[in-house]
């Protein structure tokens, strides 16, 4: 399932996938795969993404 919440949070912060990847110390392709729903990140990476985007885990990764 696509992670549109993460994509929109990144866009709101005016960050490119490349920039977010650099902050989280992962490759751009990993960020792309998470947003597309092709990869389920570990909790450590989820936290790093949340910190970079100033969001909580619930806000970005909780599926209703």
């Amino acid at each position: 399932m696509k992670n549109l919440k993460m994509k929109s949070a990144r866009a709101a912060k005016d960050l490119s996938q490349e920039e977010l990847a650099k902050i989280c110390e992962v490759s751009r392709q990993t960020i792309s795969a998470i947003e597309k729903g092709d990869y389920n990140p570990t909790i450590n990476l989820c936290i790093a993404i949340c910190k970079a985007l100033d969001k909580t885990l619930d806000e970005l990764f909780w599926v209703e």
Binding site: E25, V26, S27, Q29, T30, S32, A33, Y39, P41, T42, N44, L45
Partner: protein, 176 residues
């Protein structure tokens, strides 16, 4: 050259190759580190790639075991045969990593890699050409050790082409 001297020569060649690889890795990495850093998704992908390469190697070696019991003789010497199996395994691993975004690590310099890949390919083709001029590439209709240099050169060309195509595909995806 007797068997032990040739084996020793090849073993020294492999050790020198490994040392050169470590030096090249140090030069390719932007931070001067010998170890390439991968993120969590890349590590998982590389694990899968190693699995495919492992089974490829097993299948080829089984094939070589079975064929060695028959009368059929390959037009390559034994060393080349088994070395080719290793190279095919490496190509499977590398190709899987390239197409699943796990070939270049976070600290790799792609341009430096390209330069070294071209140099290694040219170097290997040069050695093969030199040995061919000395008549050591094919002896009695059987390809000798020099074929390994051609195989390694071809491997780097294949990797280069795959990386180039992947780069074009990625550029298209960047717009998403």
């Amino acid at each position: 050259m007797d068997f032990s001297a040739r084996s020793l020569g090849l073993a020294i060649g492999v050790i020198v190759g490994l040392i050169v690889t470590v030096v090249i890795l140090k030069l390719i990495n932007k931070d001067g580190n010998t170890k390439t850093k991968y993120d969590e998704m890349q590590l998982i992908t590389r694990g899968k790639a190693y699995t495919y390469a492992f089974w490829t190697l097993i299948i080829i070696e089984l094939f070589l075991c079975i064929t060695s019991t028959g009368d059929y003789k390959f037009p390559f010497n034994n060393y080349v045969l088994h070395f080719s199996a290793i190279i095919i395994g490496i190509v499977v691993q590398v190709s899987y990593c390239i197409w699943h975004n796990a070939y270049f690590g976070l600290n790799n310099s792609k341009s430096r890699f390209a330069i070294f890949a071209i140099l290694i390919a040219v170097f290997n083709f040069g050695i093969a050409l030199y040995l061919h001029s000395k008549g050591e590439l094919i002896v009695d209709g059987v390809f000798q050790d020099a074929l390994m240099n051609i195989i390694v050169g071809c491997m780097f060309i294949v990797i280069g082409i795959e990386l180039f195509v992947k780069m074009i595909v990625d550029k298209g995806e960047m717009g998403d």
